[in-house]
């Protein structure tokens, strides 16, 4: 580092005289009546008071004193020519020597007992004064610095507060933006949600309508082709009618499949959770295929593991649908060997049991690279399958979706040319079987009893579609029943006002007054004695009029709606002759037994 001299920075600015003069004035304040001279080491001399000092005349004496003082003596005295005494004190710090005379005073002060002390004290005091001045200045500087710091700190605090306010403002602004952004997104979501809800409702309605629109003409085709084949036909015509009936049957299966899949995919399928008997269900499915299997000379086997609970809780109907589908496939693709339904218990956890169903065949099998795709919609093992074996390609997609819906999974194991196994497992709750009720036994006895004829039931058919009117009326009259026709709910009420009936076949969807509304009205009238009196058809009845709903809406909610308004039964269109006849027969029996 460069050498520096902090002491002599201002040497150029200040001549030594000024320094000495300052010191001399300080000394003078302590010794106000003395004559004083300061002799700087550099030869400068300052005098106080200026002019006329007796010191000036005593140069030789003073020179002697200075010599002694510089030689290191603390305080020296000498008598001048005029008899006065002169004193000299070296001031090392100021680099000067003080020479003093005390006018009016006789004799050497230093020989008096306290003279020396008094003089030295006076000089010391003066030097202390000088130092004190410096201390005062230091103090002032410290004070100023403290003030600056105070100002700086308050400025700092103010600036920090300013920043705090700004940051707060920014945060508020941010919060506002966030809020409005959230509000905007919420509104967007709400409108999207509304749109989706509307779309879902429209899809629902569309499904319902499609179901109706598709089944209504099917109703006519199947019904009339059945009736047609019962008329006198020559062999060709009989063959044609049979073909129409078969084709219409296939078409109905396809329509049902498509609607089913659409419903599943739209999330409109609600699963039942009812107890059902596992063995009965599986055997029921098997019984559908035993004859066809025998006809194809294919062995048909059912194996149900012993340990499985007899009663399970779940959707038996949907399970049956899956099994029928899989066994149907197995039958279709198996020409020799066997088809088997195997039911096993999987993992078990308390009431919960995993039931594993396998449908195995020794059919044509599926190529390994096609095994995944077969569960997709409209996909079959290979393109030629449709031509050779028929089918829609929807069956497995529906099965897969249903299994998933039930919380299980489905897979296939297959070797081409050797056969396939479709395995699916579904977790279900087991239910302890209830003791068999005597009523149930009676019912089964009755079911076995031979059924009698329908007899002369008086039937009111309420149906707006003329084709369906004709179809239903032909079926009904063939059973020997009397039939009146009303084309909507209002007409039905008019008929009831005039004539008694044993049973009403009530279409649900009709103009003017639909079947649900009409049923509700009828039940209202039955409930009030005054109202009943006005209706010939209701007046004398012991029990409520039997009303059977007819609807092309085969959905569960449609069925529930029918029962909800007080219908006693429900037939889905297209009208299957056998089911309608069975219904009529049942009703006739009840009528006969109640009247006997």
């Amino acid at each position: 580092m460069i050498p520096t001299d902090f002491d002599n920075v201002f040497a150029d600015l200040v001549d030594g005289v000024e320094d000495l003069r300052g010191l001399l004035q300080t000394l003078r304040r302590r010794l106000p009546h003395a004559w004083l001279e300061l002799h700087g080491d550099d030869g400068v001399v300052v005098t106080e008071p200026a002019g006329g000092s007796p010191l000036a005349a005593e140069a030789a004496t003073i020179a002697g004193l200075l010599e002694q003082a510089l030689a290191g003596n603390e305080l020296v005295a000498a008598q001048g020519r005029g008899g006065e005494w002169f004193y000299a004190v070296p001031l090392a710090k100021a680099e000067a020597v003080l020479v003093a005379a005390l006018p009016g005073r006789q004799g050497n002060l230093l020989v008096e007992p306290h003279g020396r002390d008094l003089l030295l004290s006076a000089v010391d005091y003066a030097l202390l004064d000088q130092e004190q001045q410096l201390l005062v200045i230091e103090n002032q500087q410290v004070y100023r610095q403290i003030n600056v710091h105070k100002q700086q700190y308050s400025a700092l605090i103010e600036d920090n507060f300013r920043q705090y306010r700004l940051i707060q403002e920014k945060e508020k602004e941010y919060a506002r933006k966030l809020e409005s952004e959230i509000a905007r997104q919420t509104a967007e979501l709400r409108s999207t949600n509304a749109r989706l809800e509307k779309a879902s409702r429209l899809q629902n309605e569309f499904l319902a309508n499609m179901s109706h629109e598709l089944r209504t003409p099917m109703n006519a085709i199947i019904g009339f082709s059945e009736l047609l084949s019962e008329t006198d036909l020559d062999p060709d015509q009989s063959e044609y009618a049979k073909t129409i009936k078969e084709a219409a049957g296939n078409l109905l299966v396809l329509i049902n499949d498509i609607l089913d899949l659409a419903k599943i995919e739209a999330g409109k399928v609600e699963l039942d959770s009812e107890p059902f008997a596992l063995r009965e269900l599986v055997e029921g499915v098997a019984s559908l295929f035993r004859l066809p299997a025998a006809a194809k000379k294919v062995a048909f086997m059912v194996e149900i593991e012993e340990g499985l609970p007899a009663l399970l809780v779940g959707d038996g109907n949907r399970l049956r649908q899956i099994l029928i589908n899989l066994v149907g496939n197995a039958m279709k693709f198996t020409d020799r060997g066997r088809v088997a339904i195997i039911v096993q218990a999987g993992r078990c956890c308390g009431e919960q049991v995993e039931v594993i169903f396998s449908v195995r065949d020794t059919g044509i099998g599926i190529a390994a690279d096609r095994q995944q795709a077969i569960f997709d919609k409209f996909t079959q093992a290979d393109g030629s399958t449709t031509r050779k074996y028929g089918g829609t390609g929807l069956g497995l997609a529906i099965c897969s979706q249903l299994v998933k819906l039930m919380g299980g999974d489905i897979r296939v194991e297959s070797v081409e040319g050797e056969g396939s196994s479709f395995i699916f497992s579904i977790p279900m709750a087991s239910r302890r079987p209830l003791p068999l009720a005597p009523a149930a036994e009676a019912a089964s006895v009755e079911a076995d009893a031979p059924v009698g004829g329908v007899g002369a039931l008086r039937i009111l058919l309420v149906e707006d579609n003329p084709v369906n009117q004709r179809l239903a009326s032909i079926i009904v009259s063939k059973q020997g029943c009397e039939l009146a026709v009303a084309s909507d709910g209002l007409e039905a009420l008019a008929q009831l006002r005039a004539h008694p009936f044993d049973l009403v076949l009530m279409d649900v969807q009709m103009p003017n007054m639909d079947g649900l509304e009409a049923t509700r009205k009828i039940r209202e009238i039955e409930a009030s004695p005054a109202g009943r009196a006005e209706y010939a058809g209701l007046r004398d009845r012991q029990r409520p009029l039997v009303i059977v709903g007819l609807t092309a809406h085969a959905r569960k909610e449609d069925e529930q709606a029918c029962y909800g308004v007080g219908m006693n039964g429900f037939l889905s269109k297209p009208i299957v002759k056998d089911r309608l006849v069975a219904f009529l027969r049942e009703e006739a029996e009840r009528l006969a037994s109640s009247s006997s």
Binding site: P3, D5, F6, F10, Q133, R144, L166
Partner: protein, 282 residues
């Protein structure tokens, strides 16, 4: 011969000053700026963050608590002080290297600048009772023009230094003659570019002006006093040579001699406290 403007433009093109430092010095003048803005900018230069925190925690500020984050530093020492530290860090690198010749060396100039900054701050606070932050900044930056000249017209500057003789001419006069502009002009343009406070810019512009009497309490006058003291302490840009004090300032010093003597007595201690700031090897 290049004009001051040409030099500053060329210099700025060299991007020798970190961009972050420029943005920060500008930020301090903005009344809407907060510690968050400050931190956001300074975060771009992690080295600068570390160095700044080291300086904030150095004895120069004498903080009782250790400051570990930039926002906290803003709270404790304020943005103006941080701006000064950013300037110190930016300039420290600038004053590195170069050869010593004709009494000029960058290292000398750096120690000179730091001494002037510290003395000026002491004078402002102790004699005039004023805040010392802007004064410190003016001190640290007032001779930056010399660095720019050294980088872009180094040989001419050395010649000017060689001709400079305080008894016959002035340094800025020699610069004007040989380089075509002088360091107070160049420094002023750079300071304007940095958007430094107007008082600071004025002080840089006039620190060699002996003709006009500037108010005693102005940064210009304080800078001139500090320059003279630094020169006397042998910390002048051109070793052993510096301009004499303007007469009215001589009168001022003589009238306050005891005050200045106290400052001189305390200066070594203050410089030791600020060692981290000006140590060229830090």
């Amino acid at each position: 011969m290049p004009s001051a403007k040409e030099l500053v433009t060329k210099f700025s093109d060299l991007k020798t000053l970190p961009h972050v430092a420029l943005r920060l010095t500008r930020l301090v003048n903005d009344e809407r700026s907060t510690m968050q803005d400050f931190e956001e900018i300074i975060k771009l230069d992690p080295v600068l963050v570390t160095r700044l925190l080291r300086l904030v925690n150095s004895p120069y500020f004498g903080l009782i608590n250790k400051v570990e984050s930039i926002p906290k530093a803003v709270v404790y020492v304020g943005m103006k002080n941080l701006r000064n530290l950013v300037a110190v860090e930016a300039l420290r690198n600038l004053f590195r290297g170069g050869e010593a010749e004709n009494g000029f060396s960058r290292k000398n100039l750096w120690v000179h600048s730091a001494t002037v900054a510290i003395v000026a701050e002491m004078i402002a606070k102790r004699i005039f009772g004023q805040e010392g932050e802007d004064v410190f900044l003016a001190g640290i930056i007032h001779d930056v023009g010399l660095i720019i000249e050294d980088q872009l017209a180094g040989e001419a500057l050395r010649r000017a230094c060689g001709v400079y003789d305080p008894s016959k001419n002035t340094l800025v006069g020699c610069e004007q003659e040989i380089i075509g502009c002088d360091h107070s002009e160049v420094g002023t343009l750079l300071a304007k570019d940095w958007r430094l406070p107007p008082e600071v810019i004025k002080a840089i512009r006039h620190h060699h002006d002996r003709e006009k009497k500037y108010p005693l309490t102005s940064i210009t006058s304080i800078l001139q006093l500090a320059e003279y003291i630094a020169g006397k302490l042998n910390y002048s840009p051109i070793v052993g040579r510096f301009d004499p004090l303007p007469p009215h300032l001589v009168r001022h010093v003589r009238s306050m001699m005891a005050n200045y003597k106290v400052i001189m007595r305390d200066l070594p201690g203050e410089m030791a406290k600020a060692k981290d700031l000006y140590d060229p090897n830090a």
